[in-house]
Symmetry: C2
Subunit: 261 residues, 2 copies
């Protein structure tokens, strides 16, 4: 029922975001392969599925390879040249975005891709070595620099979906905290919101939200003040994100009914 049947290739593609100079940016690499040669593309690669579906001696169990999530994490490390410890330490956020499975989205062979997005804090950006092959690539401002019509395959769709996703979640999920330094000021957090929404936000109103976050224990004040810009002005209070226990862990929609036997 599942052995000798034809199977698709499965890849992961990554929409890696950061915020630099007040602008939302995405990491793109220059393609070298046969197809879409020279175009810009999202980083990605094949999911390691071991020897799945290949003939093997009877009795030997199949090596099923890595989780799709693990493949995304591995690719993130490879494409940015950041090791797993750094990614963890700086709480780089990685989340599944959508699966793109149109036939012929890759003309060579059937490829289904599971897209993820990642949020890289600006402090890590100088360490990122985009693309092992060191070809022309790097961070592109989503608003002004991404050459939408020059993106390979359906990567423009994937990128659009990624931007829409972080915009949609910005107001109710801790998206922005993954795009500021570990210790941040109100202005820095606001500028990240402005970059993602691509519009100005009222200072006073944003402070009110910050105040609620503090009351809710979502952020805590950090001793010491710091000028956000360095170019003068009154120094700002600093904050730190206070990670909550993951609400998804308690996620069985209703009490388990259990087996009566």
């Amino acid at each position: 029922m599942s052995g000798p049947w034809p199977r698709p290739s499965v890849t992961v593609d990554l929409v890696i975001f950061t915020v630099l100079e007040g602008a939302l940016k995405v990491l793109l690499i220059r393609r070298g392969g046969e197809v879409c040669h020279g175009m810009l593309a999202l980083p990605g690669g094949f999911v390691d599925v071991g020897d799945a579906g290949l003939p093997r001696p009877p009795g030997q169990p199949e090596d099923q390879g890595e989780d799709v999530e693990a493949a995304a994490l591995r690719e993130l490390g490879e494409e940015t040249a950041l090791d797993a410890a750094l990614l963890r330490k700086h709480r780089v956020h990685l989340e599944q975005l959508y699966t793109f499975g149109r036939a012929h989205r890759d003309p060579r062979t059937r490829v289904i891709t599971v897209a993820y997005y990642a949020l890289v804090p600006p402090e890590l950006v100088p360490l990122v070595q985009a693309g092992d092959d060191a070809s022309e690539a790097g961070w592109f401002s989503v608003a002004t620099e991404v050459p939408w019509s020059e993106l390979a395959f359906d990567h423009a769709d994937i990128l659009s979906t990624g931007v829409a996703r972080i915009r949609g979640k910005l107001d109710y999920a801790p998206i922005a905290f993954s795009l500021v330094p570990a210790v941040f000021t109100a202005s820095e957090l606001r500028q990240v919101h402005e970059a993602i929404r691509h519009q100005k936000i009222d200072k006073g109103n944003f402070r009110r939200r910050l105040k609620r976050m503090r009351e809710d224990g979502l952020i805590v004040e950090v001793p010491g003040k710091r000028s956000s810009t360095g170019r003068g002005g009154r120094p700002a209070t600093q904050y730190r994100f206070q990670a909550q226990e993951d609400p998804e862990l308690a996620a069985r929609p209703w009490p388990v009914s259990g087996r009566s036997s």
Copy 2:
């Protein structure tokens, strides 16, 4: 780079919801296969990928099979015994949920599954023939009847994700309209909201939301009144959902910069 490599199997699994007797229900089928025999499972099946990855005469193009989305739609038709025309006519909602790609989630071979959820209006439920093989199966109340520990594979995770998704989208997406008859009363729509959220909603406050929907052109009044229950009481005003042009069609996050050449 993509020919002779091992590939995973890819399936679609469906979380098919309806609301019956004031309760959110999901369609489960009794498994007959070798693995997880006798357990309950979400309906699903393999994505047709043509002859992808198989050896073929040089020069002959690969048959890449069907889109993943098309596979989900096809499975929905097969598992419910509803034809495509009926699904369209009754605006059955089908949307990608999440992709589950843990290694060993199926012990036989590496299987990555793209989960979709579907919303079936109650008027269609009597026509649904659950499972071609006609084994014991059917609609289970998510709150009281689903035997979570007896679900095959990781289908409990998939179902949980589906319930969480429609709950999260209930207040800002037209989820509920796909779970009432084409012409509905305020009470009927409210009961669908109550079933999904699994708690009572104040009549008056819900009416206020309905009023706004009418002002926004989201719903329109239908002439004629009808008692919701049939057991007496004052007859209710009827409404009809007014489909909007899909906002996702205008979705390029920023103006296309275009090629300068």
